[in-house]
């Protein structure tokens, strides 16, 4: 009984934690590769979006490695993600593979569906409900810590004095937090992980750009598909903040502890441009772009999988956001054909634009201030 879960950002760290906590036999999904995408794209429906194809390719790989339970997320629309599991199950069965697909319904669908899908993996005999609830809350706490570490790394990477220092600190910090399981341990690990970042030498005075990263969670978080945008921007001295995080997605009540703006605040910011929920991360993309613009960011990069329904609406609306709020926005739609060079050229152009805007506005400020 080997369970496999698709990869997405630091989800693998969380899965490892869950597996240790509940003593689940699991198989680590290999990172995405050209081969994964080829397999996935060959099997998936032509107009399915990129995450479906990527995850499908990944499932084929883990099934060949000997997994027999595939765990994926569910939902009740309107985003296509809620139907992924069903389509992938049918495609893989057609290919003659033997496995069991467990679709983890989010509690927002119904609490019973969520509980039932959890119980398909962790039987009642092994872990009773109070223990299960307690452990899940602890995992939630840990997810928030993991995402805070990433947020910190994104903010510092552009200012590091020696290249790779922040990356090293992040690895170290993640290892420290991974080893913490109880509430006390997690709190202690959090403080200790903060120390790792404090040791990194920084050049705080260096002139830098601030760029917001918005879009569909899978392509924003998975470095294989966004061409490692975090590090790419960091290397060019850009301070990055992103709107989507795993913790914000799973945290109940729309609190968004990592992004720092509640769902209501995001909806309010987006309202003049997009006044209704459109599923997926569509509303968050628009709201976060407005918030980034208000906070004085220099540019926003929007990642979306090709034909993603909520993000295509967001992309249409972002043009208006960009012109009315005067913030450069670059929408990059990613599919299995997207090449690194094309993306990087456009990103470079965006950074040039942002720099020239920044210099222009700096000059205006300089003229206003008396020269010493």
């Amino acid at each position: 009984m080997k369970i496999a879960v698709p990869r997405m950002g630091n989800l693998s760290l969380i899965i490892r934690d869950l597996a240790q906590r509940f003593d689940i036999d699991y198989l680590e999904t290999p990172p995405f590769s050209e081969q994964t995408m080829e397999t996935g794209a060959a099997l998936a429906p032509e107009f399915a979006c990129l995450p479906l194809k990527a995850v499908l390719g990944s499932f084929v790989e883990v099934l060949e490695m000997g997994a027999d339970i595939l765990l994926t997320g569910g939902g009740h629309g309107p985003c296509r993600f809620g139907y992924y599991g069903e389509i992938q199950r049918r495609i893989l069965e057609r290919e003659g593979m033997e496995f069991k697909m467990v679709v983890l319904e989010p509690p927002s669908v119904s609490f019973k569906a969520f509980h039932d899908s959890v119980r398909a993996l962790i039987p009642r005999q092994r872990v009773r409900l109070p223990a299960l609830a307690r452990e899940i809350l602890l995992v939630l706490k840990k997810v928030v810590v993991f995402d805070h570490l990433e947020k910190r790394a994104l903010a510092l990477r552009g200012l590091e004095a020696e290249p790779g220092a922040v990356g090293g600190a992040l690895k170290e910090a993640q290892a420290i937090v991974s080893g913490a399981f109880t509430r006390k341990e997690i709190d202690a690990a959090r403080l200790e992980a903060d120390e790792c970042f404090k040791r990194v030498p920084l050049e705080r005075g260096r002139p830098h750009l601030k760029v917001g990263l918005v879009g569909e969670i899978f392509v924003v978080l998975e470095p294989f598909f966004n061409f490692d945008i975090d590090r790419w921007l960091g290397k060019r001295g850009v301070v990055v903040e992103r709107s989507v995080n795993i913790a914000d997605t799973v945290y109940p009540g729309g609190r968004n502890p990592v992004f720092g703006f509640t769902d209501q605040a995001v909806a309010k910011a987006a309202f003049p441009f997009l006044s209704h929920e459109v599923g997926g991360d569509g509303l968050l993309t628009v709201g976060a772009t407005v918030i980034f613009a208000q906070r004085g960011f220099d540019a926003v990069v929007h990642f979306l999988p090709f034909t993603c329904m909520p993000e295509v609406i967001a992309k249409g609306v972002l043009g208006r956001v960009s012109s009315e709020l005067g913030i450069p926005v670059l929408s990059l739609s990613i599919d299995e054909q997207t090449g690194r060079a094309g993306v990087e050229t456009r990103l470079e152009a965006l950074l040039d634009l942002a720099w020239s805007n920044k210099r222009k506005s700096d000059k205006v400020i300089l003229q206003l201030e008396p020269v010493p």
Partner: protein, 323 residues
């Protein structure tokens, strides 16, 4: 006061109700003309390049209305029935409409959430009525008329051209299938080839719902659920000889439902299924060739079944399920 309604997307479902609403308010409704090549081109140029064909067509209609009206009505249809939702494109349609052009007349976007049995969305229609300077009483009665209209709403099955005994189920969105420019005259072409096309609106909703409920995972998009249910109904009752699944380029739910139908019908050993993807480049020759091949194949298989004594229509008693 002239209020425009684009003749696209859900106008093909609820157009009559919307028109009745506007007429009850005493404003002059203007419906854009039937889709033309220019409308599609204008839409494809101005709308975001990644949106699906129906949204581009919708954008074209909206731009056609721009100079001719004082306001445009773009209802935001959230759900089709209880427990379903509509495609995200419908939810964001008014917001996409507002980005099309800077000198657009005001876009009125009342919500229409047919799954909400308490009709909270009717309030938004009331405020739209008031912004159109209708009196309180007139507004209230127009909204009441709309609510009863959609509650009793049935998409009135349009009579499709009939010819021949061979029946072909056309499983596609009504706004694609009933728009003869977008579908390149699909229904007429089928009938000119000697087959009778059946569309999704001709299958009674409860039958479609019943068959859709047998799927292993519920389709949460209302319109697509109905479409898949209709296709399953046709296939299981044997009321058609073949099914055409008509989708449009970059249609999100279509990509999922198409794959699902292909698999499900394959498992059940159904009638032949062919997928046709429509786009704005309107390549008629490609469509005609594929249609001819498909219908020839259906004709041949029904002929060979008849000669071997296996009547295709033996189990087509369910054909009575058509409205």
């Amino acid at each position: 006061m002239r209020v425009g309604i684009p003749r696209a997307m859900l106008f093909h479902h609820y157009g009559e109700n919307w028109l009745a609403f506007l007429e009850a308010l005493g404003v002059e409704p203007v419906v854009s003309e039937a889709t033309t090549g220019e409308i599609i081109t204008a839409g494809a140029v101005h709308a975001d390049n990644e949106t699906c064909l129906p949204v581009k067509v919708f954008s074209g209609h909206l731009l056609w209305l721009k100079e001719r009206v004082d306001a445009i009505l773009v209802p935001r249809v959230i759900s089709e029935s209880h427990g379903t939702c509509s495609c995200p494109k419908f939810m964001g349609l008014p917001d996409l409409a507002r980005t099309l052009s800077t000198d657009l007349p005001p876009v009125l976007a009342p919500r229409m959430d047919l799954g909400d049995w308490s009709y909270r969305w009717a309030r938004e229609w009331y405020s739209v009525a008031r912004t159109l300077r209708a009196g309180r009483l007139d507004s209230a009665s127009a909204v009441a008329g709309l609510v009863t209209g959609v509650r009793r709403h049935k998409v009135r099955a349009k009579t499709n051209p009939e010819s021949g005994d061979l029946k072909v189920g056309v499983a596609g969105h009504l706004y694609n299938v009933h728009d003869s420019r977008v579908s390149l005259g699909l229904l007429d072409r089928i009938s000119s080839m000697g087959a009778t096309p059946l569309t999704v609106d001709q299958v009674q909703p409860h039958r479609a719902r019943m068959h859709a409920a047998t799927l292993s995972r519920k389709i949460f998009w209302g319109y697509e659920s109905r479409l898949a249910g209709a296709a399953l109904h046709w296939s299981r009752t044997g009321s058609v000889s073949g099914i055409l699944f008509v989708t449009s380029f970059a249609c999100g739910p279509g990509s999922m439902v198409g794959a699902l139908l292909e698999d499900q019908l394959g498992r059940e050993g159904s009638v032949p299924l062919m997928t046709i993807t429509l786009d704005e480049h309107a390549a008629e020759a490609g469509l005609v060739t594929r249609l001819e091949a498909f219908i020839d194949m259906l004709k041949r298989s029904s002929r060979s079944n008849r000669t071997t004594g296996r009547e295709v229509a033996t189990n087509s008693v369910g054909g009575a399920g058509l409205e």
